[in-house]
Symmetry: C2
Subunit: 361 residues, 2 copies
DNA sequence: TTGTATGCGTTATCAT
DNA sequence: ATGATAACGCATACAA
């Protein structure tokens, strides 16, 4: 086949026997043109298989029609879904998505954002390790480039699409307390490069205290333990007496149940478990996972929408937190008397209705 | 701190008191320049916070340093991981990733690819609904734009990064047969917009026949059934007598077990189940899922590598299929005598060693 | 070694 | 209604 080095509007104009300006006007439906020349230009463009060069356009219009997106990793379904949401919302807007991953590395984070900026993206959407410390993020703000954050709590100078991690975590603590649990734990990835995890712990801790419960045991594990049930079991065994554990995400919650099984503990009879995120697989498990259901996809959509509005001249507005939803699942039960009850027999709270559902938004 | 309109190399040249060509040479380390002016240019660039405009560069060099990537959806972890692999491999290469999703829609597929092309991407990497019917894909080939496919079988004119679905499915059939299963089934999404699923069925069917087994029952379900265990259970109930089912992906395999449970069938005692993909969660389940383990991440990396090599002038080379690995898990067992054995008591095959593992590559 | 001028593909301006 | 031309930011051939 003929190696056709891209044909430009100049070729079209020549074929149509008119000036490039006229061809441009016709092809863009801007300005006016006689039906005659309009026809000639259109057929010429069709015949030659002409298509605009986005680069030429970008150079002249000073807009790349490109939006940069930075997330820690696409291997994490939560982020992948969020990006999917962004992508979906951008469909038909004319904007294309330029993506980059930091792999949870703070330095890579900043570098990636800088790279995105240098690509002349018209807007930025990001989930970072440490947005408050990112020079590139500040730079974007100063340059007047619209920025939307995802998953992060509201931050001075930037709009963000997020769920209230603290409040959601409090809800979990309330559910635990309602069932009569006192000795609880919080399971998280060590070196958790995430303010999300921190906020969840903070909320959980705060509500435990508010409810008069002892402080939860903080169980931090590494990636290795999260993937190897036997290793996690060892760690879990070092925390006897806990009757309910809140894992900072669903994946950990599932791994946790696996480890518990190795110790001969049944869920929820011997230990209650709750997760966070609401990944779909959780619903399909033999024992459906109790969790805070969120919608990363909606988060991505909202972030994209915020950006599009700003790109159309709107002022930046910080929307309220997205709603979450407590899903009871089947991994929650009252603690078994005699286990982890500080030596006393755990009394069933006076009136504990069956685990219900909580909305917030 | 209102950074005005971006500063260009012209500003740098002016500040450094030299011509733009000299500034360009210094900043690109091309050509020669006196230590004197070199110093002035560099400090000027630093002081002004100069950075190149990717667009200006692209226009002049005819290369956008951008690679387009099309996948059906990022909500599917298999594709998300593949993109993550692409992304990882592209790190530091100077190329950025432009992504788009088709949502399994063939028309959107072609349109998205066209859009990517119109963005002047230097190369394309895609997983499509019907690559063999995509006009945009052909166009890319004709234009001489390097293209790499992912997940697809080798196709005339394009290189692809893939696993041999047919061979992998045969392996599953062999495992079933080894355990003594005869009445088997293949579970897939109806309207499965995927040659992967078709190839898996073909391989499964072929090996069943080769092994003298009856043809497997083809069980096609819709999205709704896949997400609602009770509905899937109804369908499953319509196929009594099956002792082993091969689901075309792990997600379906998990949903399948859920449905079986509702029918009171135990896995693997009453029914064996195998999946495909090897998603991580499968290993963490109470009953670890038997599956064909693949690495979408490796697939993405390979595809990206193929592209980078071509962009550096290399000739297109089709690499061999990526290896897969049969993971025995715990969802496989010999059929229970008296169930689904065509009326005869299923004989244990003469020498059935414990389920082992098969490599291919 | 350095600067000037040109062209990359497009649109906006301004004549005609 | 139409077309010639000037940007846009950059790299480079060519001249100095």
């Amino acid at each position: 086949m003929t190696h056709k080095s891209a044909i430009t509007i100049k070729d079209v104009a020549q074929a149509a026997g008119c000036g490039v300006a006229t061809a441009s006007r016709v092809l863009n439906n801007s300005g006016s043109a006689s039906a005659d020349v309009r026809e000639r230009v259109e057929t010429a463009a069709r015949d030659l298989g002409f298509s605009f060069s986005a680069i030429g356009r970008a150079l002249q219009s000073r807009r790349s029609m490109t939006i940069g997106c930075l997330v820690p990793s696409l291997a994490n379904p939560v982020f992948a879904e969020a990006v999917q949401g962004v992508q979906a919302e951008l469909q038909g807007s004319g904007y294309q998505l330029l993506i980059s991953c930091s792999n949870y590395d703070e330095a890579a984070d900043d570098a990636a954002l800088e790279m995105l900026l240098s690509k002349d993206t018209d807007a930025l959407i990001a989930t970072m390790v440490a947005p408050e410390r990112s020079a590139a993020l500040q730079l974007a703000g100063r340059r007047g480039i619209p920025v939307a954050l995802m998953f992060h709590d509201p931050m001075e100078g930037f709009v963000t699409s997020y769920v209230d991690n603290v409040e959601a975590a409090r809800e979990v603590a309330r559910q635990f307390a309602r069932l009569g649990h006192r000795r609880t734990g919080f399971l998280a990835l060590r070196f958790s490069t995430s303010d999300r995890s921190r906020n969840r712990y903070a909320g959980f801790l705060a509500e435990c205290r508010a409810g008069g419960l002892p402080d939860p045991a903080l169980i931090e594990i590494g990636e290795a333990e999260a993937r190897q049930p036997d290793r996690l079991a060892v760690i879990l065994g070092q925390h006897p007496g806990l009757t309910a554990i809140f894992a900072s995400n669903d994946f950990l919650a599932i791994a946790l149940q696996n480890a518990a099984r190795l110790l001969g503990w049944r869920v929820p009879q011997d230990m209650s478990v709750a997760g966070f995120d609401g990944i779909e697989i959780g619903r399909l498990l033999e024992v459906p996972l109790a969790t805070i259901e969120t919608s990363p996809e909606a988060m991505g959509r909202q972030a994209a929408r915020l950006l599009l509005e700003r790109l159309q001249g709107g002022a930046p507005v910080q929307p309220p937190a997205l709603s979450f939803h407590f899903r009871a699942g089947a991994t929650l039960a009252p603690p078994t008397p005699g286990k982890g009850d500080d030596g006393r027999v755990a009394a069933q709270p006076p009136s504990a209705p069956p685990a219900e559902t909580a909305q917030q938004g």
